[in-house]
Symmetry: C2
Subunit: 583 residues, 2 copies
């Protein structure tokens, strides 16, 4: 593509163009940083899904003023239309060219012998780079630097801390503006930000990646559990409560010690090694095995909200959506092979019901099929895959088949939902498991009196409740539906003399199980309304002379809608109706 | 007391007599064991609160036949009226006398130099013993050997395993019979036994002293939490959810690392030591400190059902009542010093309400006062102790003052309840804490704008829910009141053809939130009724031709009472009324 060419038309061409252009923008940025901070050492500067970044070793963090100056000078280079030129060099040439760049030296040393080493130049700037790039700096049509963050060299906290400048670039100012608007919306909805603003949860480095749910967050968390329990009641699950710390003998038997040890926490008690559970399945297998089961007792469906712990590197943890400790709406179904179809169908129905309630669009569904190597016979896999596929078809779910992507222990179906920003999250999963029953020698007595092997179905609908809550906060932008709102109504007395009446109304609401607060601060009414709106409280109930005299409350919704004065009994009915309908 | 003397009249005389007599019975038992098992090595044989035991090193465990033979020969020695004789010996004489007894040698070596060493003889048997004893074997009026169990020498699992024979002795056959009856009742109510029989929970050595709650046990457990949550709502508590694994920096700051490390589990993550929480307080202190607090924001009451882990030696764990992992109805109140009185009063009211519900008698109350050393000023202690004492007096609770028995961080009140067998359990506690606020530098802004130190109140009402459930099972003998019963009604179709009607009735009950099962096994009605009674199911609803035709169910209670046929709607009302009243 030549200087000034029209942006490409097809999606893949566009993606390719953006990739090259953003990569080039990263070079332009490094060029300018080098001019403004001659002592800066360059690390790496790749394009990303939504933009680009470059990491620099500098003596002090970049200030907002630095970033503005860098951006301004980048635009000048863009305006100058400087050409990018590729050149292959020998290892010796490369080492000499980047003699002052310790990170580049490390990269060069990591390139396998015999592999080509290329550099890219634009103007006087040269970078060790595989490319590809646009032909000229002028092809970077619209750019914006976004933020600065610390980042360890190669993501390892034992390495030096670098300064990373993030930016993005688009084919037009319009596309850039749209993107920045989306970013702003994502920032507004960021659950970490809303978690603080709405007093939902906090984090503390003394327990990394382990949320502390404040009272309001705990209300929502417990309501999610209560909702799932209601479903369990209807769908025939039985809740159990199991230990968290088991001898490693259990984890050896289950296979976790071999395959999952890196993610587990271990402790030693009485000279015996114990592991903190990352999953509930082995504990449930023990409970299943604790008594004789007949074919008529199946399916057994054990649900467990037990707390799990899984080690994640500190570089990858993120708010509530990637934590080291969480609970799941986890359950294991022990069933006969002939019951798989019905169990999966029932689960898919529950998933559909729940996702609809949370106003998620129809989930994207992936069916992962037999991999190599695997356990179990081909006949088992045939039947299991067919059962899953039949259910998906019967429910008219569009799904994608993923040959070879099943777990070694069985095929699975994953449910992905898109949140209000169009980002996808894997929430639900249903996995057949032929291995666990073998490992724990699980049996039931068949109708012919002979011992049979049950199938285990692992299934979760919301997945990690912590992650689900994070997704939900962003999905709703913090404005939870009435049934989930930690505070459903704020009573706002107009003046001090209305405080008593406001308390009476609040008591009447509380007596009906509604969650309500009285804002009796010494503030003006409008300030209280604004604060309640910022807290995304569904109902603001204003009480002044007239309301007190008439037994009313003036109802405002967080949307801004003003329903005017209503009898308190009517307000209660209105709210209870919204709660009952889980709106 | 001479041979054949009348049993003593006063309680303390009786206790003293029983102590000596049981001690003598232990010697008689050792004498007989030695005659029957000449190779047996003697360890120790003390009297206990309810009887006596003796530990022996033998080549094989004692059989029931051995025990019967030992008991029979003991009776002969009793009948012979052999005198007990005390003698002081030198260390050298003692060592020589027990040359064949390695455990006695160890005991002798442990006696401080200069201390008198005594032996007791009866007939040819001699034992190293401090006494005291009765004068003659004939004073052991009524004896019974009870059971055999393994026990490590000195309770240490690294030592040899000994065989312990338990027995008891009383001043009359009548007193013995009464005691055996109590033991039998305790055995019938033993929560470990009922836990198995009623499918409430199980244990597995893969997670020692860590209960697995089966579906029925989990129902009761969750109902207890739900009940406490209802109280929290009314008493102004806010539930929070906090991490379980914290850096040891937290435990150093809280003082647990210094004072409680032996009972904690540790793990290493990213080269940093972490401790699994044994208590919730430090986490709550962090939450309190996470924002600025004003005097008007207090009290803050954080409730937490978080799972705790505390190491207990395997020798002392016991069923649900002493476990290594449990949750408490735990809360921490952060308040101003002037709020202590009201907070303790409110808590004591909640305790009274709850204990009454569970049909416990009025609790015994102990007030533990300032110890040495302690933190805080005398003025603080004066005020805190006075606050506690005033509340106890205002509530007209009889209490015992325990000078010097408070924690170093503050005075406390403990609530003990007696279960149906008269055994006492410490359940509730309320402890003032002046230390935690210092350690975590907790503050609030006083009405004069200056930073002030809040007081922390640790309080639990039921204590460990695991332990409480264990106590409750024994208290009710497994017959939970209707609101707590895991299965509230069993539908019993008389014949196969009534199965459908039974299912309809069950659905009608379920639709009203009642927990119900249909016993559609191919068994006779009487067998089903007996099984439901053994399961302590409150309502048995029998359905035959007549009931089906008339829309009735024939109601039987687990007490054996037969209410006869009742319309299903009436049965539902009856049950819902019992649930609502928490009967």
């Amino acid at each position: 593509m030549s200087d000034g060419a029209a942006p490409p038309s097809s999606m893949s061409e566009l993606a390719d163009y953006r990739h090259r252009m953003r990569h080039s923008a990263a070079h332009i940025m490094a060029d300018i940083v080098r001019r403004l901070f001659p002592e800066a050492k360059l690390a790496i500067g790749p394009p990303t899904e939504d933009g680009f970044y470059y990491d620099f070793l500098v003596s002090r963090p970049f200030t907002p003023e630095d970033v503005a100056a860098i951006e301004a000078q980048m635009r000048e280079v863009v305006a100058q239309g400087v050409a990018f030129q590729r050149q292959e060099v020998s290892r010796g040439e490369a080492k000499a060219l980047f003699a002052q760049e310790p990170f580049k030296q490390e990269i060069i040393d990591g390139i396998p012998p015999g592999e080509a080493i290329s550099i890219y130049r634009h103007g006087a700037f040269v970078d060790l780079c595989e490319g590809p790039h646009v032909t000229s700096t002028s092809e970077v049509k619209a750019l914006k630097l976004l933020e600065v963050a610390g980042a360890y060299w190669r993501g390892d906290e034992h390495n030096p801390m670098l300064q990373r400048i993030y930016g993005t670039a688009f084919e037009s100012q319009e596309a850039l503006d749209e993107h920045l608007e989306r970013l702003e919306e994502a920032r507004r909805r960021d659950h970490r930000r809303l978690g603080r603003e709405l007093d939902l949860f906090l984090f503390d480095p003394i327990a990394p990646a382990s949320p502390f749910f404040l009272p309001k967050g705990a209300i929502v968390y417990n309501l999610l559990i209560q909702y799932v329990r209601g479903l369990y009641d209807r769908y025939g699950y039985q809740e159990v409560i199991t230990p968290q710390i088991f001898s490693t003998e259990l984890w050896k038997r289950s296979g976790h010690y071999e395959a999952y040890r890196e993610n587990m926490y271990f402790t030693t008690v009485d000279d015996r090694e114990y592991g903190v559970k990352p999953m509930n399945c082995p504990g449930h297998a023990l409970m299943y095995a604790s008594r004789l089961r007949s074919y008529r007792d199946l399916p057994v469906r054990y649900a467990d909200f037990g707390r799990l712990h899984r080690y994640e590197r500190s570089g990858v943890t993120h708010g509530l959506t990637r934590v080291r400790t969480f609970s799941q709406d986890d359950a294991h179904i022990f069933c006969r092979p002939d019951q798989i179809h019905q169990e999966v169908k029932s689960f898919a129905g529950m998933v559909e019901e729940a996702y609809r309630l949370f106003q998620f669009p129809k989930p994207r569904v992936a069916l992962s099929l037999r991999p190599d190597p695997r356990v179990g016979t081909d006949a088992m896999w045939d039947r299991a895959e067919a059962a899953l596929e039949e259910v998906l078809q019967a429910l008219e779910l569009t799904y994608e088949r993923k040959p070879g992507e099943g777990a070694f222990y069985g095929p699975k179906v994953d449910f992905f939902i898109a949140d209000a920003l169009g980002r996808e999250w894997q929430l639900g999963t249903v996995q057949l498991d032929f291995s666990l029953p073998e490992r724990f020698d699980l049996e039931y007595i068949g109708d012919d009196g002979s011992p049979q092997r049950p199938v285990v179905i692992h299934r979760a609908m919301l997945g990690s409740l912590e992650r689900f809550l994070g997704v939900l906060i962003e999905h709703y932008g913090g404005a939870f539906p009435v049934w989930l709102a930690p505070v459903q109504a704020v009573l706002i007395p107009i003046a001090d003399r209305h405080g008593e009446y406001a308390q009476q109304v609040a008591q009447a609401l509380k007596a009906r199980g509604l969650r309500v607060q009285v804002d009796d601060r010494n503030e003006r009414m409008n300030a209280k309304i604004r604060d309640a709106q910022l807290q995304k409280t569904p109902y603001m109930l204003v009480a002044g002379d007239r309301e007190a005299a008439e037994g009313n409350a003036a109802v405002r919704l967080r949307s801004g809608e003003n329903l005017g004065p209503r009898p308190v009994a009517e307000v209660i009915d209105l709210m209870l109706e919204a709660v009952a309908a889980r709106r």
